[in-house]
């Protein structure tokens, strides 16, 4: 009996809402492994993840968005989203939740036909699904997950062709870069990645950051198999990285890091190789914009072989390709 109850529950989770598949129905499996079937591509989407929202704008499906994360209005990326969408600029697009908190009543009142939310927000997902609203749960661990996400969004919004085109563009950009720097031949530079929280907070070998460092032809100093890790200063001195790359940090600059007396003996400081990635919007590692960060890393690591790479041109090219006409406004 328990088994039959469990199987009934599972089957319910697999088809929210419970509808028969028609010729226009769309079907994907989200990051929870839950199958989502919609009778038609979604026309009313509530997207509570900022990076996922970026993906939907890349697909040029902004008119299908009816709710966003409150973080978009508060975070440093507001200016860019204000360019992409007048409703965000005027703050008229409802924000019924964020990565942490979801107002179920507001979501239900918006009558969405799809909610995009972090897969880890299990209680919220359960509550939304109880109202018969399909939920796509996101959990990104790698670059391939970023490709899967945009592919699924393409299907769910009825814009598969654009999704495939953007994915192919991104893959080509990475392949071109790797052939430019002759990835098999180079002597790999050692990069220490520093998160905003402080010098000792870094990304381990199971992180997306690790993958980006490797895509840029370098290797991660941190060999700990954790995604986000707080390390000991002595470890940093032992690793002796060639380059320190800071995630965008509004409080500290590379000059501040270079002044720290206790790390003066590491190569990155000795040879003035401390850099900061530009804006969070531009280098968002969990969107198809990640090649920009990869190219920037490659340029810092291998300036000779990437001499022809102009980051300003790369930025313009990428934004126009990914966001279309509005991308041009973003470059200004």
């Amino acid at each position: 009996m328990l088994l039959s109850f469990s199987s009934a529950f599972t089957s319910c989770r697999q088809s929210v809402p419970n509808s028969t598949k028609s010729s226009s129905s769309v079907n994907v499996t989200d990051f929870r492994g839950v199958e989502i079937t919609l009778p038609n591509p979604a026309k009313r989407i509530v997207c509570l993840i900022e990076s996922a929202l970026s993906g939907i704008y890349m697909l040029q499906a902004e008119n299908q968005i009816i709710g966003i994360s409150s973080g978009v209005y508060n975070e440093s990326t507001f200016a860019q989203y204000a360019v992409l969408d007048e409703r965000i600029k005027n703050k008229t697009l409802p924000a019924p939740g964020n990565w942490d908190f979801v107002n179920i009543e507001s979501i239900v009142a918006l009558r969405p036909d799809l909610v995009i939310i972090w897969a880890s927000q299990t209680e919220s997902i359960e509550s939304i699904e109880k109202h018969g609203i399909p939920v796509y749960g996101v959990f990104l661990k790698s670059v391939n997950d970023v490709y899967k996400e945009i592919h699924d969004f393409g299907i769910l919004t009825g814009r598969s062709q654009r999704a495939d085109s953007l994915t192919n563009y991104t893959r080509n950009e990475i392949n071109q870069l790797r052939s430019t720097i002759n990835i098999e031949e180079i002597e790999k530079k050692n990069i220490y990645f520093m998160w905003t929280q402080g010098l000792l907070e870094t990304a381990g070998t199971t992180s997306t950051v690790n993958e980006l460092i490797e895509l840029a032809g370098a290797k991660n100093s941190c060999t700990t198999s954790q995604e986000h890790v707080v390390i000991n200063k002595e470890r940093l001195l032992d690793w002796n990285p060639d380059i320190i790359v800071m995630w965008y940090n509004p409080l500290k600059s590379p000059e501040d890091i270079a002044k720290l007396s206790e790390i003066q003996h590491i190569n990155a400081i000795k040879f003035n190789q401390v850099y900061e990635l530009p804006s969070v919007f531009l280098c968002d590692l969990w969107t198809l914009k990640f090649p920009y960060a990869v190219k920037q890393l490659a340029k810092w690591c291998y300036p000779a072989s990437t001499e022809g790479l102009n980051m300003n041109t790369e930025k313009q090219k990428m934004l126009v390709k990914l966001y279309g006409e509005k991308g041009e406004k973003l470059t200004k």
């Binding site: 973080g71 508060n74 975070e75 990565w99 942490d100 908190f101 998160w195 905003t196 929280q197 402080g198 010098l199 000792l200 060999t223 700990t224 954790q226 986000h228 890790v229 707080v230 390390i231 000991n232 200063k233 002595e234 470890r235 001195l237 032992d238 509004p250 409080l251 720290l260 007396s261 206790e262 003066q264 003996h265």
Partner: protein
């Protein structure tokens, strides 16, 4: 064991532990052998090893010692003046005030984190004190009650800041509240050494009065002591020392409650003797715990976690082994 010998051990222990700690760390470069070689010959890694010893380990060791000592001595003095063995320096809202101050600074960057934690920690204690004050008198029960209420208010404010923070900032706030010594450096040490020294010195000078105050206000008055004035002086000193410790190391929960009991179990209830022992043992014990914390894994585990994981079994052992009349 003879109590005199125990006292002697507690007085001597800090020096060898501090020296030994200099040789303990996760670095594969600054090993015991390489440090010994440093004195005999000049190697390629000499500068690096010196940097690890003098710029990384030494400030962390000294800061751990100061933080542990100040939390223990503050806890002991507060237990004595409140005549309540279940209190510590956090009871008047210090930890929640400091946590709110740190969270506010981490989220909105309007002040340095350390300074903000210190200011809000002191502010919480002052608020508790003035809330409890009535007709120029402060009763102990009112003070503890107002401390609990003020703690509740600052905890609620902390929750609001956390609620509106993005994941990156939230992570920083959570890490701060778990206690951390991995960011120790000479700057932090310099900023905390003066207030901690002043607080500890005042408590040390007033240590014999704690015995009298622990008997009750009427008894204190009969020997010519002004209990209200002395309590305020000791409270300010304890708050100064512990808020400076919290500002640089975050919240190390229950340490100020646990260590005074450990000392009492081993050496007895005489505050005149236990006050210096609290400082020395509190410092040494936290240093030993931090030695484990920084060597046991390849990444940093918050000191607050280790304090409970290592301190609690030792506390339970002492509680079982000694008999100081709590069962009656």
């Amino acid at each position: 064991m003879n109590r005199r010998i125990i006292h002697l051990v507690f007085y001597i222990l800090p020096l060898p532990v501090i020296l030994a700690s200099l040789f303990i760390g996760p670095s594969h470069t600054a090993t015991l052998g390489s440090i010994m070689d440093l004195f005999l010959k000049n190697s390629d890694d000499s500068d690096l090893i010196k940097s690890i010893i003098f710029d990384v380990r030494l400030p962390r060791i000294l800061l751990s010692f100061l933080v542990g000592g100040s939390l223990a001595i503050s806890g002991c003095s507060i237990q004595a003046i409140f005549r309540n063995p279940l209190t510590d320096s956090y009871i008047l809202g210090l930890s929640s005030g400091a946590a709110f101050g740190a969270a506010l600074a981490l989220a909105y960057a309007f002040l340095p984190v350390q300074l903000s934690a210190f200011i809000f920690g002191l502010m919480a204690v002052a608020l508790s004190y003035f809330t409890a004050r009535k007709n120029k008198n402060v009763s102990i029960v009112s003070l503890i009650l107002s401390g609990i209420i003020v703690s509740g208010i600052f905890t609620a404010l902390l929750t609001i800041v956390q609620f509106f923070s993005d994941p990156f900032k939230l992570q920083s706030i959570v890490h701060w509240t778990m206690g951390n010594l991995h960011n120790a450096n000479w700057v932090k040490l310099r900023s905390s050494v003066i207030p901690i020294t002043i607080g500890v010195f005042v408590i040390f000078v007033y240590r014999w009065r704690l015995n009298v105050l622990a008997l009750g206000d009427d008894e204190a008055k009969t020997v010519g002591i002004n209990p209200e004035r002395d309590k305020i002086i000791i409270l300010i000193a304890a708050t100064l020392a512990s808020s400076s410790a919290v500002a640089v190391a975050g919240i190390i929960g229950l340490y100020g409650l646990m260590v005074p009991h450990m000392i009492r179990m081993v050496t007895g209830p005489d505050n005149q003797k236990s006050i210096p022992l609290n400082f020395l043992f509190g410092g040494t014990f936290l240093l030993i715990i931090d030695d484990f914390s920084r060597t046991i894994s390849s990444f940093e585990i918050p000191i607050g976690v280790f304090t409970m994981l290592l301190g609690a079994p030792f506390f339970i052992y002492l509680m079982k082994k000694t008999n100081i009349g709590w069962n009656s």
